[in-house]
Point group: C2
Chain length 320, copies 2
């Protein structure tokens, strides 16, 4: 299934540390063909002062606002809809269908043509709570309507999602990325690591860094638990069993290994896990899945965002 | 077995954030009776500038130096013997007996009557490395010579130790306390917690805080892994399923629960685990062991330090 992006529509993925906008301009000669522009602003919701969202949006969109004949449709997803964002778009409970999200778009006060996609929640009545905001759009951009799938969306807070029968049925979060960052920056594990991170693009390659990453993946399957394995970053470093250049990759391998092993247990599937990622994370997680003997197929995260937002716009009848 | 502390001896437990000194003064009327003084200085090795250890020691001992007829014997343990400490006392490998430690005391340059106890290491040739420094003394203070035991010494870096046949046979570290601190202070998990920690003295009591702690212990046994469970501190907090006052205790329960479950797997025993702790940690871990259905007996950590250092002094033939 493909969705043709509508003309005069702007899709925005606005997270904690970045905002990315995509504009579709239909070709006047060939109305079925749409060109795509993108603009990026390193201003996530944490960098926007109270009351500063209209100005931040104007900066993000820049010349696009002057170009437009009429105010464009704007659809936003991500932390911009959280309590700390522009306006809170309440969570929809699981199971959540595309139509549920499209029916619950949150209006933005003072901007009649702008909406924010709600997040999704699960739990209650004894079951553990969890929340997702932004990745739910990527899920609907990464699946075909009728095929069940387990998806992994790695990041600061990795999301694992079960999709079935046209709905986001269940999900769970692992704090992998944030735990990596705080341990790297604020614990004694960072003390033995070089200040500048070693290049770490291709975890499947040979060399100290890639080897340390795979070593961490292997270690994550041994007894003792994550809290014990973490101390190994220091102990193996002290004895030079892992060179200083490899310690960051070893820590990364430990954490990603623990995430995949435990979350694959929560979300068993006979099919390849659909990994929604790009850049370095796509490389690390692909290596990790394969090293652990698990089938994986990669879906480009940006493409999933654009396709998901477009599908919601379409479903909501907001196409121009 | 009891060890009579020698007269004119000073025992020092010098760690990363604190230094504690104990002096023994033999009663002239009753030579078998020894009184104990203690002095404490909030100056761990991190707070001592390069070259500053002689001055820090003088400050720690204060009037004791003037009182002494002759320079007292000084035996130190802990991070003071690390590479970042006064002088590095190399690690002894496992299995390590009391006699091994006593035979490897490290002299302190310029202080002929002072020594530092070596740490203990394990691993190599494919086996995971680990290090212990300070707690090895407490182990020898907390055991009887001939009885095998599994010991848990909780803290910033919790140590689990197997003692058998008069030797520290094996051990492993869990970063429980440090992970708690960095997540509390530097991750988004701290955002929903009140700035001042709720009183959290008696984890076995009723009330929001104790209940949240036990809830965390229970959750630690469910599938999904620690990285997933950690995010629950935020998610349960967002929905008010755990009140803000209880979130810190919930985080603590999750981490301690994960530590005990995984480390008890590494160190199986039919006997009660010997918990070497005092204060709040003794209360939390005792509650945790009991809540998880595991037998435990508490050994006072300070008493174990004093007894361990005294035994080493004795074994080394350094008694006055």
């Amino acid at each position: 299934m493909t969705s043709t992006p509508p003309a005069d529509s702007i899709l925005i993925d606005w997270g904690t540390t970045n905002a990315r906008a995509y504009r579709f301009v239909r070709d006047k000669e060939e109305p079925d063909k749409a060109a795509r522009d993108r603009r990026r602003l390193p201003r996530g919701i944490r960098q926007v002062p109270p009351g500063g969202f209209p100005a931040a949006l104007a900066e993000l969109l820049g010349p696009w606002l002057d170009d437009a004949a009429a105010p464009p449709r704007i659809l936003m997803s991500g932390m911009v809809g959280s309590r700390q964002g522009w306006v809170e778009a309440s969570y929809r409970p699981c199971p959540a269908r595309l139509a549920d999200l499209a029916a619950s778009l949150c209006a933005v006060p003072g901007l009649p043509h702008a909406h924010i996609v709600p997040g999704v929640c699960r739990g209650g009545e004894g079951a553990p709570h969890d929340v997702i905001r932004g990745e739910e759009v990527q899920v609907f951009g990464a699946v075909a309507d009728d095929a069940p799938a387990v998806l992994c969306l790695p990041g600061t807070h990795s999301k694992w999602v079960r999709y079935a029968d046209g709905a986001l049925v269940d999900f769970a979060t692992a704090m992998t990325g944030e735990v990596f960052q705080v341990l790297r920056s604020h614990s004694l594990l960072g003390a033995l690591m070089p200040a500048a991170a070693a290049a770490f693009e291709d975890a499947a390659a040979s060399g100290v860094v890639a080897e340390a990453f795979r070593h961490g993946l292997d270690r994550s399957g041994e007894p003792g638990g994550l809290l014990h394995h973490l101390f190994g970053v220091r102990a193996e470093g002290l004895f030079g069993a892992i060179p200083a250049d490899g310690l960051e990759a070893y820590l990364s391998g430990l954490l990603i290994g623990h995430e995949i092993r435990a979350m694959a247990g929560l979300f068993p599937t006979a099919d390849p896990v659909r990994l929604v990622a790009d850049g370095t994370l796509a490389g690390l997680y692909t290596t990790a899945f394969r090293h652990l003997g698990r089938a994986v197929e990669v879906v480009d995260a940006e493409a999933a965002t654009i396709r998901g937002l477009t599908r919601i716009l379409e479903q909501a009848g907001l196409l121009a």
